[in-house]
């Protein structure tokens, strides 16, 4: 096995339920190089978020494990920053203070006060939010909140940036803006990114590789598609680009042909079950909190 930067190795996870354990993931293997942008795509409920949470250390894998720079991941940490779908900013802190909280944790020993201040402002200007430093999250729009959420993670200079459907809750125009911002930042910083999405265009536009996941339960990696489009990528030019359309079709084909039947059946069945699964998930986090 080659030594890659981030190795997700044979990861499986079971959640305890009242009757028999629910197996969410089975033998997930992904290896990621430094500076690579990976998308995880799949139908809802296929365990994409679970993979991300395991990499983040928020969930513990039942078998297998995650190795980052030769070290096993066993708990959450600032070297694996997470951009949450619903921004997860602390509503009682200003934009600046939200980023400050993270910066203080990571650079307390290595940066002076003035350096931290500049660093916070620098990261907020990267996401074009330097005009609203002292606003509360409740006073800015959803897109802006997500920008701040991204700035908070960038400011931590993580080894891996984990994004859990970062633009899922935004309208199409705002989403496009943020995708462009993210690409611009990525060109300059070259972070290692794992992003979860269910937007095919977004996956092709942003990623170096797209990891397509099969449907759960016991979801695993179905196919991996390498996107060899030249960077910088321009969404308007790509819209008619044959190569882009080809990649797009491959993802669509995987999602709607190869994984179609279980998805359609599941959709109808699990609509009712989904809430119980959600509470189940939060229960397990609550337990690991307590322990």
């Amino acid at each position: 096995m080659k030594n890659s930067y981030l190795e997700i190795s044979h990861v499986g996870i079971e959640f305890p339920t009242d009757d028999k354990p629910f197996r969410a993931l089975q033998a997930v293997d992904i290896s990621i190089d430094k500076g690579e942008f990976i998308s995880l795509i799949g139908h809802s409920g296929c365990g994409k978020s679970t993979v991300l949470n395991i990499v983040a250390g928020l969930y513990e894998a039942t078998e297998g494990g995650v190795i980052l720079e030769g070290k096993e991941v066993d708990k959450p940490g600032p070297d694996r920053a997470v951009v949450f779908q619903n921004h997860a900013l602390l509503p009682w802190l200003t934009v600046y203070q939200n980023v400050e909280l993270a910066v203080k944790r990571v650079f307390k020993k290595t940066k002076s006060k003035a350096e931290m201040h500049d660093w916070i402002e620098h990261n907020l200007s990267l996401v074009h939010m330097d005009h609203a430093l002292h606003k509360l999250p409740g006073e800015i729009s959803g897109g802006m909140k997500q920008r701040v959420g991204i700035a908070r993670c960038l400011a931590m200079q993580p080894k891996v940036l984990l994004m859990d459907e970062p633009f899922g809750a935004l309208d199409a125009l705002t989403r496009a803006h943020l995708q462009d911002s993210l690409m611009e930042i990525q060109t300059n910083l070259g972070n290692t990114v794992i992003m979860i999405t269910h937007d095919v265009d977004e996956a092709v536009l942003l990623s170096d590789r797209i990891v397509m996941m099969t449907n759960g339960p016991a979801a695993t990696v179905g196919e991996i598609l390498e996107v060899k489009l030249a960077r910088p990528r321009d969404r308007l030019a790509l819209a008619e680009d044959a190569e882009f359309i080809h990649y797009r079709q491959q993802v669509l084909r995987f999602l709607y042909e190869k994984q179609k039947n279980p998805a359609a059946e599941k959709e109808a069945k699990t609509e009712a079950e989904l809430p119980t699964k959600a509470t189940l998930d939060s229960d397990t986090t609550a337990k690991s909190e307590a322990a």
């Binding site: 983040a56 250390g57 928020l58 708990k75 959450p76 940490g77 600032p78 694996r80 920053a81 997470v82 949450f84 619903n86 997860a88 602390l90 509503p91 009682w92 802190l93 909280l101 993270a102 944790r105 509360l136 409740g138 931590m156 939060s282 986090t285 609550a286 337990k287 909190e289 307590a290």
Partner: protein, 333 residues
């Protein structure tokens, strides 16, 4: 109309409102005041009507008019008592000055005034007692609630105890608290009266539970994402509590505090009546024992005062919550 307009003038004498704005404002005030006022007027009329037809062994049941008369007489009594006190100290000072003039080494005695506690003295005593008891309870209950909310283990181990003591009327504790205070609080120069401590700790006992329970609920219902943020940042426990747990739980903590203060105030009056400890409860009991034709009216004044003070205490807590909470837009009621 002109007087009202004058209120809204600033220092330069310039009107803060144009006439049309003023009319709008008055209309707004009218709407806000009209219904409550109507309610109060109807209530007073019903009260007077019913009171007129009830004759008790202590005379007629007091209506609003008698209650108003009694409240005036209570104010007058208070003022008379204050004058007596001033006169007492004046006499004492004069006497001491004379003594010292005769013999500079004379042994001068300064005695405190020991007059009868008036209605307003009793109100102050009760307020002081409830604040003390409530404060002690909050200092215990908020951290305990946070601990219960954070740790399932702590919650599991404390919950049965909380659930057992919660439904106990604090008055049932009163004899025990009285004996405990007498037994344990032995000091030659006591900072507090024993009766004060008994009342205050009885209040504490009933103020604990609503705060503990609501704080626990507030802490357990923190947004999962925020907890995950804290875990990713590896925030130390104290920082986690300060920056994430407490701000999230503030609304529920205050719900608990307000419930606690309201029950504390109710229980205090009962405890004072039962234990004959100084305060509004004792005032009512004394009046009842006194049994003059004015007693019922005076008790009614006390009842209204208790209600209005309870209401003000709740508003006060609400104002504190408004100051502390981060969410200035939140509608608090």
């Amino acid at each position: 109309m002109t007087e009202i307009a004058a209120i809204f003038r600033n220092e330069q004498g310039k009107s803060l409102f144009t006439p049309s704005q003023l009319i709008l404002l008055l209309r707004h005030l009218g709407k806000a005041l009209a219904l409550p006022l109507a309610g109060i007027v109807i209530f007073l009329m019903l009260w007077q009507g019913v009171a007129n037809s009830i004759i008790t062994s202590l005379g007629q049941f007091p209506g609003p008019v008698q209650v108003w008369e009694q409240s005036k007489s209570l104010v007058a009594e208070h003022q008379r008592e204050r004058q007596k006190e001033v006169a007492f100290y004046q006499r004492q000072e004069d006497r001491n000055a004379k003594k010292l003039a005769k013999d500079p080494n004379a042994d001068v005695k300064i005695r405190p005034y020991t007059g009868k506690a008036t209605f307003f003295d009793q109100i102050l005593t009760s307020l002081y007692t409830v604040s003390f008891g409530f404060l002690v309870a909050s200092i215990i209950a908020i951290p305990l609630g946070i601990a219960c909310g954070l740790s399932e283990k702590v919650y599991q181990s404390i919950n049965p105890i909380i659930q057992t003591f919660k439904p106990v009327s604090p008055l049932a504790w009163l004899p025990l608290v009285t004996m405990l205070v007498s037994a344990l609080y032995v000091s030659d120069d006591p900072m507090f009266e024993k009766s004060f401590l008994t009342s205050a700790f009885t209040v504490t006992l009933c103020c604990l539970w609503p705060t503990v329970i609501n704080t626990t609920v507030g802490v357990t219902s923190i947004d999962r994402d925020l907890i995950n943020v804290s875990r990713v940042l590896q925030l130390p426990s104290l920082v986690h509590v300060r920056t994430i747990v407490i701000p999230s739980a503030i609304p529920m903590i205050f719900t608990g505090l307000r419930l606690s203060l309201a029950t504390g105030w109710m229980v205090l009056i009962a405890a004072e009546m039962l234990a004959q400890n100084p305060g509004l409860g004792k005032f009512i009991w004394d009046e009842f024992q006194n049994g003059s034709s004015e007693s019922l009216g005076r008790i009614m004044v006390a009842v209204l005062a208790i209600g209005l003070i309870g209401f003000s205490l709740d508003r006060l807590m609400l104002a504190v919550q408004r100051r502390i909470t981060w969410d200035k837009q939140a509608i608090l009621r």
